[in-house]
Amino acid sequence: MNEISHLVGAAGPDSLVVRFAGDSGDGMQLTGSRFTQEAALDGADLATFPDFPAEIRAPVGTTFGVSAFQIQFGGRRVRTPGDRLDVLVALNPAALKVNLEDLRPGGTLIIDTAAFVDRNFKKAGYDHDPRDDLDGYRRLDIDITKLTQAAVKPLGVGNRDANRARNLWTLGLVLWLTGRSRGATQDWIRERFAAEPLVRDANLAALDAGHAYGETAELPRLPEVLAPGQTAPLPPGRYRTVTGVDALCYGLVTAARLSGIDLFYGSYPITPASSMLHMLARLGAFGVRTFQAEDEIAAICVAIGASYAGQLGVTGSSGPGIALKMEALGLAIATELPLVVIDAQRGGPSTGLPTKTEQSDLFQAVLGRNADAPLVVLAASTPGDCFPVAIEAVRLATRYMTPVMLLTDGFLANASEPWLIPDLAALEPFPVRQGAAVDGFQPYARDPATLARAWVPPGTPGLRHRIGGIERSHRTGAISYDPANHQMMTDFRRAKILGIARDLPAQGFVAGGMDDRILILGWGSTFGAIESAVDRLRADGVSVAHAHLRHIWPLPANLGDILASFERVLVPELNTGQLHLLLQGVYGCRLESLTKVSGKPFTAAEIETRVKTLLEA
């Protein structure tokens, strides 16, 4: 078997970065997720990054209609979808135009020559054939369209329908080039199109033909990043792939079981939060009922109503929708009802970049409300991490009778990774107690340990009481305008939330420790990029540690000490420096900030570079 040896290097000898790019209608997301499945089943570690346009189906051939799916996979630990591409599939000129800059020199470029015609050059904004300028890449110019048509013709499939199978032909080819199997894809096709035998057979034929093409044409294979039988050095156990949305929704249903109460998810569709609504709507049997509300305000209000009535209300949205919920969130804070609010962050301000990722709702989560209105803020760091974080959100909300904001983002929502399937029986239950001793029950009396009040839903015999958003007397809950009471209640609300820090594990390190010179303190979905960068830096002998915040508010009790013990602390984030400002604000110290707001995740290289600059400074 030939190997394109110069490929080895950039992405490391034991991982490959592949991006499938084409028109929105070309099925690139499907292609990518099928490829992911095959790599996973082969035992690779991997990380994916789907990237699609805001338009449902933008005009064919335009740059803004390009849809892409990137995966990094291999036999080593893979933390990110990869900085630079080893392989770019560009099914039309527009896809080439948008994605070429990410292909590393010497990388493999696969194009469908049938699409490289004048009409499409114009649509993509090229004034000439872009192939004229493609130097320095390993080129595979293939008439994929014609070859697919030829492959399905024997089945009696016409050209138009044949074109729908182009992506599977391409997938077959790439599977061959990368040495992956294609059995799972075949199974999937058989099941998915069981009712449409012709489509099924055409797809199978296309997949096989693409695969066979690689072999027949004696194309050089890409370097082997995962030998047959080899698996990535992941902790042992049974794995599946999950996206952040999968893991988060599983976390919620698991939390329903662990807490012993049902969850109620109220939401209004918005990208990239809608997929949580879709998935939870299918999980109703497992203790999370869903309700599509008339708007985001109603969505949080039904959730608050459900919490008041004894289920745990959960609501989810993205930035603009979360903004609309803030007034009602204040009611949940004031009445001290448990609630989980999930913010799947996206590019902003305003409608912004709905399908692109960003971490710019941290201020909104921690501080974005009228008055002093403290709550808990958590952030998930990887797709799989959404699972424990969702459980933690429910645990804290019910234990402390408080709203909890859970931050994910467009990247986490859609990206996938191998996930060690948790043993649910081994998770610690946290049964929720409702009602209170009838004797002298007072709605705002507090548990001295947690400062939480009792959760007494209507319907509880004998504990009738009334609550509301006007300041409440600190025991009876009756309206009180008393100045001292307001001060006391404000202090209670603050102390209750800050006191949760005592209930949190001490902040630890992902890599390195207190003895290092530099700390990279991350939060949220930058995890993988930081981890990769730190791996490389440490391998280069740089004294850099990595800590990653799950608890954004309250901050871990030992964080101040950690920050104080490093020469430099770098806070990378996909916004203009929000955690950075918050930390400086809380600890009154100076930290370094690394920001990026382009709708794309950090590359590991960007972080590495910055650390190196810091070291030189």
Binding site: A40, C301, A309, P458, I467
Partner: protein
């Protein structure tokens, strides 16, 4: 709203339905009379205070929950309908009363009221219409007549008011009734009907704000003019008023209602339309009548309630841990190590 009482009726009196909180409305406010009628209705119904919940937005009217000896939630401006929806879906056993003002319901809360009515969530919705913003000191509300002079409209309002009943019908309401604060007996009757109806029972209550809009409904409620202004709609009974001296009949050519004097033009009492509360077009015409003002149950039809459908859609079998583990584990898996 019909909740089957599982426990024994408690023999509670209206007084037992009064909470220990001091009522804080202005002396003479129409809200007092409504509170009294609601408390009497609850006592008459032998409702269970532990399973009764009053939910309100913000406004003078919205202070109501504090005064009823049941569960109560005084929420935020305009959102009571949405919050009540969540409460009902989370616990369909609860007997829910929403109390709201004309501003709360028809200004900031208009969207939630629309969707509540369309969904037909099983609860009673009381809209205290005083045609003014009471709590914020007297600005014109969406039900204030055009030309209303108020602190925010010193030159008079420019907009046509919302007709609460017409809006409710347009939104798909299946139960629309109207009463006035002072008509205690009939109010209890209407509230009892509303409580018995499955789905959202929308009741507009004409309420006098003695401080900012005193006398807005004088023509309807004053002894001297009441007979001429109150048209009581009772299913199956002729639409007669003014002590039976006047009636309402249909003019088919104009698809409109017409008032006639009984006895004049050879029209007897039998010329009056017989009220049919199930007829949507009749309801449309009745809610829009000005003089006389239609009171009573104007429209009432059966329809599936959202909460019932929601409960019915709930999975019957609660899956066990193994099912959940299977679900979380997914279908395509592999082993490492």
């Amino acid at each position: 709203m019909a909740t089957v009482l599982e426990r024994e009726p408690k023999g509670l009196t209206p007084k037992d339905w009064a909470s220990d909180q001091e009522v804080r409305w202005c002396p003479g406010c129409g809200d007092y009379a409504i509170l009294k009628a609601v408390q009497k209705t609850l006592a008459d119904l032998q409702a269970d205070p532990d399973r009764t919940v009053f939910i309100s937005g913000i406004g003078c009217a919205a202070r109501f929950p504090y005064y009823v000896e049941s569960y109560g939630f005084h929420t935020i401006h305009g959102r009571a309908a949405a919050i009540a929806t969540g409460v009902k879906l989370a616990n369909p056993e609860l007997d829910i009363w929403v109390v709201s003002g004309d501003g709360d319901s028809l200004s900031i809360g208009g969207n939630h009221l629309l969707h509540l009515l369309r969904r037909n969530v099983d609860l009673v919705y009381l809209l205290f219409n005083n045609e003014v913003y009471g709590l914020t000191k007297g600005q014109a509300s969406p039900t204030s007549p055009r030309g209303t002079v108020s602190p925010s409209s010193p030159g008079g309002t420019l907009d046509a008011p919302v007709n609460a009943g017409a809006f409710a019908l347009g939104a798909g309401a299946r139960f629309v009734a109207r009463v006035a604060d002072v008509v205690q007996g009939p109010m209890v009757e209407v509230l009892t009907r509303a409580h018995g109806h499955r789905g959202t029972s929308f009741v507009e209550i004409l309420q006098n704000c003695i401080v900012y809009n005193d006398g807005a409904f004088d023509a309807v409620t004053d002894k001297a003019t009441a007979a001429e202004h109150q048209l009581w709609c009772r299913h199956g009974e002729p639409l007669l008023f003014a002590g039976g001296t006047k009636g309402v009949r249909l003019v088919p050519e104009r698809f409109a209602l017409e008032i006639f004097d009984v006895g004049a033009d050879g029209l007897g009492a039998e010329a009056a339309l017989v009220h049919d509360e199930t007829n949507p077009m009749l309801a449309q015409m009745l809610v829009r009548l000005d003089v006389p003002t239609a009171l009573g149950v104007i429209f009432a039809v059966e329809a599936p309630s959202y909460d019932a459908a929601f409960s019915a859609a709930a999975p019957t079998r609660k899956p066990g841990l193994a099912d959940l583990q299977r679900q979380v584990g997914g279908r395509t898996t592999w082993k490492i190590g």
